[in-house]
C-alpha cells in the first residue's frame, strides 16, 4: 500500500534549511494498523502530509498503491485524496461557515458521489445525530473532532491518515473516536495513526518511531521506550 523511500522534507531559507524529515524509508501493507509515535516536532505531521500528497518531498519518493505520487498530476492527486484517503487533521479543521452535516459531506461532494444518507449515518455513529444543523462554533472541541472523523470516513477510504485524532480530548470522546477508527480498520482500511498516547499505540500492529525527523526503529513492539 505505502512505500516511502529516502523521504526528506526541508523548510526554511536556502542558506539555513530545517530538516523536518531526513531520509525516512518504510513500507505499510494494505490493511495494517501502524502507530506513528514521537515527540512534538519529530516530523509526524510532515510525514502524514507527504503520504497524502499535501506537500511534495524535498527528496525521496512516496508510492501509494504502487504509483509514485510525484508522477500524478494535480487532478489525479486531488482525486486520490478525495476518494481513497481519509485525513484527520491535528488542528480544528471544520469549515466555520458550513453546518456539521455540510462539513461531513464535503468529501462526497468533491468525489461527486451521490450517497446522501452516509454523512448523517456516520454522524449518528459518532453521537452527533442531533447536531447536524449546528455550526462549528456551537460545538465543543471533542464534538468538532468527532465531526472531523466522520468526514474522514464518509468516502469509505482505503487509507486513513489520522494526525493525533484524540489529543487533548476526554477519555469518553477518545474511546468513541478510537472505536470508529478501529471499526473502519476492521472493515479493511489501512490505518496510519500519529499519537502521543501509549495506550493507543499499543493497539497498533506496528510502531514507527520518529525523532528529529529520523526514523528510530521499525518494530511490532507496542511498548514505547
Amino acid at each position: 500500500m505505502i512505500q516511502a523511500t529516502d523521504l526528506s522534507k526541508r523548510y526554511g531559507a536556502a542558506g539555513r534549511p530545517i530538516a523536518a524529515l531526513d531520509r525516512v524509508s518504510f513500507t505499510v501493507a494494505a490493511g495494517e494498523f501502524v502507530a506513528l509515535v514521537g515527540r512534538s516536532g519529530s516530523g509526524k505531521t510532515t510525514l502524514l502530509s507527504l503520504l497524502a500528497g499535501l506537500t511534495r518531498p524535498s527528496q525521496g519518493t512516496v508510492e501509494l498503491f504502487g504509483q509514485d505520487l510525484a508522477s500524478r498530476d494535480e487532478t489525479a492527486l486531488a482525486k486520490l485524496r478525495g476518494n481513497t484517503i481519509g485525513f484527520i487533521f491535528q488542528f480544528p479543521s471544520l469549515l466555520p461557515t458550513l453546518t456539521v452535516l455540510a462539513n461531513a459531506s464535503l468529501p462526497l461532494r468533491f468525489a461527486e458521489r451521490p450517497e446522501p444518507e452516509r454523512p448523517g449515518a456516520l454522524l449518528e455513529q459518532v453521537g452527533l445525530g442531533e447536531r447536524i444543523h449546528f455550526f462549528p462554533h456551537q460545538l465543543s472541541a471533542g464534538e468538532s473532532r468527532r465531526v472531523a472523523v466522520a468526514r474522514a470516513l464518509v468516502n469509505r477510504p482505503c487509507l486513513i491518515l489520522a494526525d493525533e485524532p484524540t489529543g487533548d480530548l476526554d477519555p469518553e470522546t477518545e474511546l468513541t473516536i478510537l472505536n470508529v477508527l478501529l471499526e473502519a480498520h476492521q472493515q479493511g482500511a489501512t490505518l496510519l495513526l500519529a499519537t502521543h498516547n501509549p495506550a493507543l499505540a499499543s493497539q497498533a500492529d506496528r510502531l514507527i518511531r520518529l525523532e528529529s525527523g529520523r526514523l528510530l526503529n521499525l518494530g511490532s513492539d507496542p511498548k514505547l521506550s
Binding site: 486531488a78 478525495g82 461532494r109
Partner: protein, 406 residues
C-alpha cells in the same frame, strides 16, 4: 447535493460576512447606477428634443429681438411667454430667399386664481389650422374631423380628455384631441384656433375677470420652414443670419440653440454622474481586489483543508473568482434597480427642475445602457477577482494549512 460545493460555500461566506458583503456590493452598485443614470438622462434629453422639434415642424422660429430665451423656455418647459410683434413682419420673412412657408402663432397665458379659467398660468397658443406646423400631424391624422373654432387641442401631459370642456377668459372650449408626447413644454400647452382666440378676447370684457386684449395685426412668433438644402435651400444658420440682418427687430431661434441650451442645463448633473461613475468603478475594483486578497490570506487554512479533502486547484479558483463575481453581479443588479427606480419616480422632477425636456429612451437604447452599466459592474468583479483567485489556487495544501496557523 453531489456536485462540488462552490455555490454553497460562496453563499455561506457571504452570509458569514454580511457587512463586508454589503459594502462591496454597494461600491459596485454606485458605479453601475451612476453610469446607467447618466446615459439614460442624456438619451432621454435627446429623444425629447427630437420629438419636440419634429412636433414644432419649424426649421426656424422668429420672435421679437431679445426674447428668444423666453421662447425657448416656453417650448422646453411650457412656462408661458407673452409678447408680440407686428404681423407685417411675416411678409418680410417670406420675402427672404429660401423660405418655403411660414405660419404665425400668438402666445397667451391663462389667468391665475380666476374662476373664468379652468387652470391658471397655462401656456395658450393661438394658431391658424390651415397653415400651422405644430398641430398639422394631428390634423392630418383626423382628416374627417376639421377643427371647429371653439375646439382646442392639448399637449399630452394635460389632464382633461377629449370631449371635456375647458374655460379660458370665460369662454368655453371643447377639447378635440391631445397631441403625442414630446417630453417638453409642448405637452403642457393648449392650442386654440386663432379665430376662437379672437372671439375669446372680444368676449372677455364681459365674461372674464380680466380683459384679454388681442390685436388681429399682432403675432408672437413666426414659424419658418426652409426649402430643403438638397433642392438648393439655404442652411438654417444662413437663413437665420439673413432674417436677423434684414429685420433688425427680430431674433431667430434655431434647433441647435435648443440642443445647446438643454445640454447646458443637464451638464451639471451629467458631470456629477460621470464623475461618480468614473471614480466609483476603479474604486470598486480596488476595494474588491484588496478585500479578496486579504480574504484569501485569512482563509489559507480553509483553502488547504478543501484541497486536502479532494478539491482541485480549479475548484479553489472558481470558489474565489465566483464569489467576487457574485458580489459584482448583485451590485450591478442593485445599481440598475436603484437608478431605474429613482429615474422612474423622479425623472419628471429632474427634467422640470433643470428645464430639460425628457422622455424615456426607446427600449433598445435602454437595454444598451443597462447592458453597458451591468458589463462594467461584472468587469469590476472579474478584474478584481483574478489575482486573488489565482493566488489562492496556487497554494500547496500543507503550506496553506501551515501558514494559516500563524
Amino acid at each position: 447535493m453531489a456536485a462540488p460545493p462552490v455555490f454553497d460555500l460562496i453563499a455561506a461566506h457571504l452570509r458569514h460576512r454580511p457587512v463586508q458583503s454589503v459594502i462591496l456590493l454597494l461600491a459596485v452598485a454606485i458605479a453601475a447606477a451612476a453610469v446607467f443614470a447618466g446615459r439614460v438622462l442624456e438619451q432621454g434629453r435627446l429623444k425629447a428634443l427630437e420629438q419636440s422639434l419634429a412636433r414644432l415642424g419649424a426649421d426656424l422660429v422668429v420672435v421679437p429681438r431679445g426674447l428668444s430665451q423666453a421662447t425657448e423656455q416656453a417650448i422646453l418647459t411650457g412656462q408661458p411667454a407673452t409678447f408680440t410683434l407686428p404681423r407685417s413682419v411675416e411678409a418680410k420673412v417670406q420675402s427672404i430667399p429660401g423660405i418655403e412657408r411660414t405660419a404665425t402663432q400668438l402666445f397667451l397665458k391663462s389667468l391665475t386664481n380666476a374662476a373664468c379659467c379652468s387652470a391658471g398660468n397655462l401656456f395658450l397658443v393661438a394658431f391658424n389650422p390651415e397653415s400651422d406646423f405644430t398641430v398639422r400631424p394631428w390634423l392630418e391624422d383626423h382628416p374627417d374631423r376639421p377643427l371647429g373654432p371653439d375646439e382646442v387641442l392639448a399637449g399630452a401631459a394635460m389632464i382633461p380628455e377629449p370631449g371635456d370642456t375647458l374655460r379660458f377668459y370665460g369662454h368655453t372650449f371643447t377639447l378635440a384631441g391631445k397631441l403625442a408626447a414630446t417630453g417638453s413644454g409642448l405637452d403642457l400647452t393648449i392650442f386654440i384656433p386663432r379665430e376662437g382666440a379672437l372671439r375669446m378676447a372680444r368676449e372677455s370684457a364681459q365674461k372674464a375677470e380680466a380683459e384679454l386684449k388681442i390685436s388681429p395685426e399682432e403675432v408672437s412668433a413666426i414659424l419658418v420652414r426652409l426649402q430643403p438644402e438638397a433642392e438648393g435651400g439655404p442652411p438654417a444658420w444662413k437663413a437665420a443670419y439673413e432674417i436677423e440682418s434684414r429685420i433688425p427687430e427680430v431674433s431667430v431661434i434655431q434647433p441647435d440653440d435648443l440642443f445647446v441650451r438643454t445640454r447646458q442645463n443637464l451638464s451639471g448633473l451629467l458631470t456629477l454622474l460621470r464623475g461618480v461613475g468614473g471614480s466609483a468603478w476603479p474604486a470598486a475594483v480596488l476595494l474588491l481586489g484588496l478585500t479578496f486578497a486579504l480574504s484569501v490570506n485569512e482563509q489559507k487554512r480553509e483553502i488547504g483543508i478543501l484541497r486536502a479533502l479532494g478539491g482541485r486547484r480549479e475548484f479553489i479558483f472558481r470558489l474565489v473568482f465566483c464569489e467576487v463575481l457574485a458580489l459584482a453581479l448583485a451590485g450591478g443588479i442593485l445599481g440598475l434597480s436603484l437608478a431605474g427606480g429613482i429615474l422612474l419616480g423622479f425623472s419628471r422632477l429632474i427634467a422640470v427642475r433643470l428645464h430639460v425636456p425628457w422622455l424615456w429612451p426607446d427600449l433598445p437604447a435602454l437595454g444598451l445602457s443597462a447592458g453597458l452599466a451591468f458589463s462594467l459592474a461584472v468587469s469590476a468583479g472579474g478584474l478584481a477577482g483574478l489575482l486573488p483567485a489565482l493566488s489562492a489556487s496556487r497554494l500547496e495544501p500543507a503550506e496553506a494549512m501551515r501558514r494559516g496557523e500563524l
